[in-house]
C-alpha cells in the first residue's frame, strides 16, 4: 500500500502492577494504519482493546515499545505535550457521548478549539458550525444535550471530534448506548466520513459494527490474533434504507 502511514506501533506493551502481581494487558502490539483506512478493533472484554485504545488515543503511556503518530513519536512525551497531541491529532467518540451537560451543542463542539495552543487565530464559531453541518445537526446547534436524542448526542460528539481536523477519529463502542436504528445511522455517518478520506478506528465487540470497517484487528490476551481485510463489507447506508421509516429518519440527515 503506497498511502501515507498515519500511525504505527512497534512492540507496544502495557503492564499494570497490582500489589505483587503483574497484569500484562498488552504483550507486544505491532500495528500500522494508513491514511484513509477504516479499522475495527475487536476482542472480548479483557483482551486489552481498551488499553490499546487509551494508548492510541494518547491518554496513556505504553510500558515498552514505540508509538509513532502522524510522523511524531509520542510514547515518551510529557503529559502536556500529549494533551496537545490529543487536541490536534485525535478525535474521540465515546460510548457514553461525554458531552458537557447544560452546554449547547455548538459550545460542546467549540471546546477542542478553545484548548488549541498552536497560536493560530481560529474562526471558532464558524468551524464548529461547519462540523455540526457535516453531521447533519445544523438545526440543533443551540440545544443542550438533554434536549437531544441519543443519536443526536452522538452526532454532536462526532462533530466535536471532527472540528479540529484530527489525523485519526477514534471511536470507543460508539453504538453501545444506542438503539439498533440509531446505531445504523451513526455507523453510516462513520462510513461517510471514511469515504471523505478520514482515518477511522472503531473499538467494538459487536460483529455488526466491526463489519462496517474495511479491516479488522482482533485482540486476545494482549496480542493481535487476526488482522485481515473484510471481504464482504457492510454498508450501513444501504441497511438504513431497508429499515422501516420512522420519524427520526426524517429528522436525521
Amino acid at each position: 500500500m503506497d498511502r501515507k502511514v498515519v500511525m504505527r506501533t512497534e512492540g507496544v506493551r502495557k503492564t499494570y502492577v497490582m500489589g505483587k502481581t503483574q497484569v500484562h494487558a498488552l504483550r507486544g502490539i505491532d500495528l500500522t494504519v494508513h491514511q484513509g483506512e477504516m479499522l475495527a478493533i475487536v476482542g472480548a472484554s479483557g483482551s486489552g482493546k481498551s488499553t490499546l485504545m487509551n494508548i492510541i488515543g494518547c491518554l496513556d503511556y505504553p510500558t515498552a515499545g514505540t508509538y509513532i503518530l502522524d510522523d511524531v513519536r509520542v510514547d515518551r512525551m510529557s503529559r502536556n505535550m500529549l494533551a496537545n497531541i490529543r487536541n490536534q491529532k485525535i478525535g474521540f467518540v465515546f460510548q457514553g457521548f461525554n458531552l458537557l451537560a447544560r452546554t449547547s451543542a455548538l459550545e460542546n463542539v467549540e471546546l477542542p478549539l478553545l484548548y488549541d495552543r498552536s497560536g493560530r487565530k481560529l474562526p471558532v464559531r464558524t468551524m464548529a458550525k461547519e462540523a455540526l453541518e457535516r453531521v447533519g445537526l445544523a438545526d440543533r446547534m443551540d440545544h443542550e444535550p438533554n434536549e437531544l436524542s441519543g443519536g443526536q448526542q452522538q452526532r454532536v460528539a462526532i462533530a466535536r471530534a471532527l472540528v479540529s481536523s484530527p489525523a485519526i477519529l477514534l471511536a470507543d463502542e460508539p453504538t453501545g448506548n444506542l438503539d439498533s436504528r440509531t446505531s445504523v445511522e451513526v455507523l453510516a455517518l462513520f462510513q461517510e466520513l471514511h469515504a471523505q478520506g478520514m482515518t477511522v478506528l472503531v473499538v467494538t465487540h459487536e460483529k455488526d459494527v466491526a463489519t462496517c470497517a474495511e479491516r479488522i484487528i482482533e485482540l486476545r490476551d494482549g496480542r493481535i490474533i487476526r488482522d485481515e481485510r473484510i471481504s464482504h463489507r457492510r454498508s450501513a447506508a444501504h441497511d438504513l434504507q431497508l429499515l422501516p421509516e420512522s420519524p427520526v429518519t426524517a429528522e436525521a440527515a
Binding site: 494533551a83 477542542p112 478553545l114
Partner: protein, 405 residues
C-alpha cells in the same frame, strides 16, 4: 486558553449552579461587608478627630504661661503669667520659621445689637489670627494693621453670635455694643463647628487685642500666644526656636526653668489618634475572621465541585486540556466567585455603614483604599482557598476521570 474564554467558561459553570454559587458567595459577602462596616466606623472616628484637630488651625503652636516652680514646688501651668506683647513682637521679628503669630486675650461679656443681646467670649487677637486658625470670612473683612495700631473699635463676629443677633442677615456695616464699647461690625467668620469637648467655636467675637486691652479688660498681660509654621515638618524646629526666643525675652538664666509652655496640636492629637487606630485594627481583625470562614466555605464547595465534575474534567483532558488549563479553570471559578461576592459585600458594606451611621449617629467613612483592599483581599481568598481543589482537579488522570460515574 485566552483569558476572556477562561472567564466565560468559569462564569458559565458558576451560572449553571446559581443556588450553590449564591450560598458559597454568602460567606465572602458577609465577610467583606463586615470588614467594610467595621473599618468605616473606625475610620469615621479617626477622621472626626482629625477634623477637630485640623479645625484648631493648621500647624498650630500654642504658648501658654507658667510651669514655673519655686523651691522645687511646681505651681502648675499659668500660675504666674509673664507673657507680653513684647514676646509676640520678638517672635515675629526674630523667628525664621514661624510664619504667623498672634497674642490672645480673652474676656467674656454681653454684646448688644440687632435683634437683642448675647453673651460671648471676646478674643483680642492680631491680624495673623485667621491664618493661624485657618479661618475664613463669610462676610466683610478682617481687621488690618492700622486697626490694631490705632486700637479701633472694630469687631468680627463668630457665626453663632451673628446668627443670634442678626438672624439671616449680613451684619457688616452695623454697630454692636460690646459691654459698654460701641464697635463697628466689619466681618463675619465662617462656621467652624464644635471642638472635641463640645465647645461651640463660633460663639466668639474677635477684636484687635489692643482694643480689648485698653477698652475692655484693661490688662497688659496676654493669656496665650498662637503661632503657626508653613509646613507641619517645621513644627519641632519652630517650637525649639520659640522657646529660645522666649527665654531670652524673659531674661532667664541657664539654670532657671521655662516660665512658659510651648505645645503643638499634634501633642493633643496623638493620644486620641492612637486609640482610634487600635480600635480600627481590632474591628477589622474581628471582621476578617468571617472573611476567613467565607474562604473555607469556598474551598469546601470547590472540593465538592471537583468530585462532582470529575467526568467533565476527563472530557476536557481527553480533547486536549492540559493540567494547567484545568487548574486555571477552577482557580478562575473560585476567584470570580469570591470577587463577585466581594463586590456584593462592598455594596452591603456601604449600605450597612450608612444605615448604622443614621441609626447611631456615628460618623462613618469608606475610603477608596478600603474598597480596593477589600476587593484584593477577596480575590486573594479565592486564590488561596481555590488552589487546593484546583490542583486536585488538575492532577486527575484522564482515563480514570472519564470512567468516573
Amino acid at each position: 486558553m485566552k483569558s476572556s474564554t477562561l472567564i466565560k467558561v468559569a462564569s458559565q459553570s458558576i451560572l449553571k449552579n446559581k443556588m450553590r454559587t449564591l450560598l458559597t458567595m454568602l460567606g465572602i459577602v458577609i465577610g467583606v461587608g463586615a470588614v467594610i462596616v467595621m473599618v468605616a466606623i473606625g475610620q469615621g472616628a479617626h477622621s472626626q478627630i482629625q477634623k477637630q484637630i485640623n479645625n484648631l488651625g493648621t500647624n498650630l503652636i500654642i504658648i501658654t504661661p507658667g510651669a514655673s516652680s519655686q523651691g522645687g514646688v511646681s505651681r502648675g501651668a499659668q500660675s504666674y503669667n509673664r507673657l507680653t506683647v513684647k514676646d509676640v513682637e520678638k517672635i515675629k521679628r526674630e523667628s525664621l520659621i514661624v510664619s504667623a503669630v498672634s497674642p490672645v486675650v480673652f474676656t467674656r461679656t454681653q454684646i448688644i445689637g440687632g435683634q437683642g443681646n448675647w453673651r460671648a467670649t471676646v478674643n483680642g487677637v492680631s491680624t495673623d489670627f485667621p491664618i493661624i486658625r485657618n479661618w475664613d470670612l463669610k462676610y466683610g473683612r478682617f481687621f488690618d494693621q492700622s486697626d490694631v495700631r490705632q486700637m479701633r473699635r472694630v469687631v468680627v463676629l463668630g457665626h453663632t453670635v451673628a446668627e443670634e443677633l442678626f438672624p439671616g442677615e449680613d451684619p457688616v456695616g452695623t454697630t454692636v455694643q460690646v459691654r459698654t464699647v460701641p464697635a463697628d461690625v466689619i466681618g463675619v467668620l465662617e462656621p467652624k463647628g464644635q471642638t472635641a469637648d463640645g465647645t461651640d467655636q463660633d460663639d466668639v467675637i474677635l477684636m484687635p487685642y489692643t482694643t480689648v486691652q485698653t477698652r475692655l479688660s484693661g490688662w497688659s498681660r496676654i493669656f496665650q500666644i498662637l503661632a503657626s509654621t508653613p509646613s507641619s515638618r517645621d513644627i519641632p524646629a519652630a517650637q525649639a526656636e520659640i522657646a529660645a526666643i522666649m527665654r531670652e525675652s524673659h531674661g532667664l538664666s541657664q539654670w532657671e526653668d521655662d516660665d512658659f509652655t510651648v505645645r503643638n496640636q499634634n501633642d493633643l492629637a496623638e493620644a486620641a489618634q492612637g486609640t482610634t487606630e487600635i480600635m480600627t485594627l481590632l474591628l477589622a481583625a474581628i471582621a476578617s475572621i468571617s472573611l476567613l470562614v467565607g474562604g473555607i466555605g469556598i474551598m469546601n464547595i470547590m472540593l465538592v465541585s471537583v468530585t462532582e465534575r470529575t467526568r467533565e474534567i476527563g472530557i476536557r483532558m481527553a480533547i486536549g486540556a492540559r493540567g494547567r488549563d484545568v487548574l486555571t479553570q477552577f482557580l478562575v471559578e473560585s476567584i470570580v466567585m469570591s470577587v463577585l461576592g466581594g463586590m456584593i459585600g462592598i455594596g452591603i458594606g456601604f449600605a450597612g455603614s450608612s444605615v448604622l451611621g443614621q441609626v447611631t449617629g456615628w460618623h462613618t467613612v469608606i475610603s477608596p483604599t478600603t474598597v480596593m483592599i477589600a476587593l484584593g483581599f477577596s480575590a486573594a481568598v479565592g486564590i488561596f482557598f481555590g488552589f487546593y481543589p484546583a490542583r486536585k482537579a488538575a492532577a486527575l488522570n484522564p482515563i480514570d476521570a472519564l470512567r468516573y460515574e
